[in-house]
Symmetry: C2
Subunit: 360 residues, 2 copies
C-alpha cells in the first residue's frame, strides 16, 4: 500500500469538499474528521467514504448549503434539523451546542435529524475533553443488524462513543459499533478469502454462517453477544436504545426505515427521507466534583486497569483509546497508507474535479 | 416451589424493613422495588436478596437513618451522597431529583455515592414514564467481570436500564446486565448440574471454561461479546462506561475497589468503603418533540419490530419489556413462587424478628 503524509491528504480532502461547494471552514472541518479516522486507524470511516459522500451530493440527497436549524430547546437540550447537510458539518455544530448548554446547565444534549454519515463517533465525544467535560456521541446507520430472532437487518451498527477527561493519563476514549464485527472488517475477510468468526452472522434464511460475504447476500449481522444464551438480547437492547435516542427522539428515519446508502441494502420501506439521526451529550465534570478531584480519580481508574494481571499470552489490558492514540503518533510520523481501492477512487474524484493528487 | 400472593409477600417485606428501623414510607418503597423484581420474573434481584440486605445492616455497612445529602448541583445535575443508606431508599429519592431537574432544565442527571445494591435497574428508569420522560438508570456492583485480556473479575455486571414512553403500545423497557450471563442464572446451572455456554466464562488461570461454578472457584465472567473477534472489547467499553458514570463521577468505589457483598469475592484492595454508585437520567420528551408526536413515532418503532420476519423456529421478535410485563400479569393473578432457599431464609428472618410469615 502507498503512504502519504497527513498534511497532503488533509489538503486534498479539504480541496475536494471546497470544490463541491462547502465553505472553506466547513471543508476544513469535514477533512479534519476524515483524517482523524485515518490517523486513528479506522480507515472504514476515513477517505474510503469519499465516493459515497460525493455520490450523495451528486444525487442531491445531501446539500452543501443546508438550512441548519434549532427547532426546539430547553436549558440543557436542543433539537436540531440538519437540513440534509453533511453529518461531517452538522455533527460538530450540534456537539458545540451541547457543550455550550453544559456550560450553563451542567449538561447539554442535542438530537439531530435530517443528517447523514458523520464519520467516527469518537471525534465528537473528544470535542468535550478540552472543556473538562465527558463527551458522548451516537448515530444510527444503514440497517444491517437483525434483532434477536429477527430474519433481516433492521438496525444499524449504531456506534457509541464516550470520552472522559484525565489528569496525567491520556483520556479514556471508547468508540465502538454496537454490532459484534465492523462491516469494514468483514469486507477485508472477503478480500482475503477468510471465514468470519462463528456466532456473528446469519444467512438470508436466518441460519448461522461464517460466510464473510453474508451481508451482500441477503444475510445480517447478529447483535453484540450473538445468541441469547451469550447475551445477544442485551446487544439488541443496546443497539435499539441508540436507534431510539438518535432517530425516534429527533424524528429521523429509524432502524429499517433508514434510506440506505449502501448499494446492497434493500430500501425496505420506500421511506420519506428524514435522514439518519445523531445524539450528542456533554457532561460538565465540575457539576459533580471539582475537575481536579475527578481527573485524579479517573487516572487511578486507568492505572488500575492498565496494570491488571492478564490471561496467558496477553501482555496488557488495553485501555479504550490507547491503540488509536498509538496509531495517530505512528502515522503522523510515517504517513498514512491508503488501500488500492481508496487510492483509485480518490484519483478519479480529483481528476474529475481538476485537482492535484499528492505525490507519495 | 410454593406460591404466595403478591400482597402477602409485599406486607411481610415491608414489615421486615420496618422492623430493622426504616420509616414506614421507606419500608414501603423498598418492598415495592423487591416485589416488582419478583413480579417481573427477576428473582435474583427480589426477595432472594433479603439475607444480604439484613447482613449489611447487621454489620453496620448500611444504616437505616442515612444522612442523604445533595453535595453539589446545577440546573440539570446533582451529586448525591447516600450516607450509606439502602440503595432501595436512596435510589428512588435520587431518581425523583433527576425528574424534578428535567421539568425545568429539559433533562436531569443524578450521580450517587455511598449507596448499596438498589434492586432492579428498570424500576428507576420506569419512574420517568408517567412524566412523559425517558428514564435511564445504571449501577456498578461486585467485581465479577474480567476486562478483555484481564485475568480476574474487575468490573461489576453493571446493568443499564432505559424506559421509553409510548402511546397505545406498552412502554419500551430495556433492563440488562452488561455481562453476557447473569450470576443468578449461573447459580441455577450449578444447582441443575448443567454446563455454562461456551464463551462466557474463564477459570482462575484465564482459560475458557464451561464450568458454571467458575466464579466461586476464582474465575471470572467475560464481557458481553466474549472474545475480541466477537466484539468482547466492545462489551468491556460498555461495562467500563457504566463504572465510570456510576462510580468515578460521584466518587464511589469503582471496579475492583468495590467492597464485596458476596462471600466468594475477595476484597482485593482493602478499600475505604465509599459504597457503590448509581447514575440516573430523565429526558423530557417535549424538550425534543411534542410528547404526542414522539409517542406515536415510538409506537411505530415498536410495531415495526414486533411484526418483523423471524428466523426458523422463533415466533416473534421480543420487544424489551414484553416478557416482564407478561410475567407481572401472570404472577399478580396466580401468585409468586419462591425458591426453597429464598423461602427458608425469609422464614428464618421473620422468625428472628417475631414476624408472621404468610400462609400459602
Amino acid at each position: 500500500m502507498k503512504k502519504f503524509s497527513y498534511k497532503s491528504l488533509f489538503d486534498v480532502t479539504q480541496n475536494i469538499f471546497e470544490k463541491i461547494g462547502l465553505p472553506p471552514d466547513e471543508a476544513y472541518q469535514a477533512a479534519d474528521i476524515l483524517l482523524q479516522a485515518e490517523l486513528r486507524n479506522i480507515p472504514t470511516h476515513g477517505l474510503m467514504r469519499m465516493p459515497e459522500y460525493i455520490n450523495l451530493w451528486k444525487t442531491k440527497r445531501i446539500t452543501v448549503k443546508p438550512d441548519f436549524k434549532i427547532i426546539r430547546q430547553t436549558p440543557s437540550t436542543a433539537l436540531v434539523d440538519g437540513g440534509k447537510g453533511f453529518g461531517l458539518v452538522t455533527g460538530p455544530k450540534a456537539m458545540k451546542i451541547a457543550i455550550e448548554k453544559a456550560k450553563n446547565a451542567g449538561t447539554g444534549w442535542v438530537a439531530v435529524r435530517n443528517t447523514y454519515h458523520y464519520g467516527i463517533a469518537g471525534y465528537y465525544a473528544m470535542m468535550a475533553l478540552e472543556h473538562d467535560m465527558i463527551g458522548i456521541s451516537m448515530t444510527n446507520a444503514n440497517p444491517l443488524v437483525a434483532p434477536t430472532f429477527g430474519l433481516t437487518g433492521m438496525l444499524g451498527t449504531n456506534p457509541i462513543a464516550v470520552a472522559v477527561p484525565t489528569k496525567n493519563q491520556p483520556p479514556f476514549v471508547a468508540d465502538f459499533a454496537t454490532a459484534p464485527v465492523a462491516r469494514g472488517k468483514l469486507d477485508v475477510m472477503v478480500e482475503k478469502g477468510l471465514d468470519a468468526p462463528e456466532g456473528v452472522l446469519q444467512d438470508k434464511y436466518g441460519h448461522p454462517t461464517t460466510n464473510a460475504a453474508a451481508l451482500r447476500e441477503g444475510g445480517a449481522l447478529k447483535t453484540l453477544g450473538g445468541d441469547p444464551e451469550r447475551g445477544g438480547h442485551k446487544g439488541f437492547c443496546l443497539t435499539a436504545i441508540v436507534d431510539i435516542l438518535t432517530a425516534v427522539l429527533p424524528g429521523a428515519n429509524f432502524g429499517p426505515t433508514v434510506v440506505p446508502t449502501l448499494g446492497y441494502v434493500k430500501d425496505k420501506k420506500n421511506s420519506e427521507d428524514k435522514g439518519i439521526g445523531h445524539f450528542f451529550g456533554a457532561i460538565r465534570i465540575d457539576a459533580f466534583q471539582t475537575a481536579e478531584e475527578f481527573k485524579e480519580y479517573m487516572d487511578e481508574w486507568i492505572t488500575t486497569f492498565r496494570k491488571a494481571e492478564t490471561i496467558p499470552g496477553k501482555e496488557r489490558v488495553i485501555i479504550p483509546g490507547d491503540p488509536e492514540r498509538e496509531s495517530e503518533k505512528e502515522k503522523l510520523k510515517n504517513g498514512i497508507e491508503l488501500s488500492p481501492k481508496t487510492l483509485k477512487s480518490l484519483l478519479e474524484i480529483t481528476s474529475e474535479f481538476g485537482l492535484n493528487f499528492p505525490e507519495q
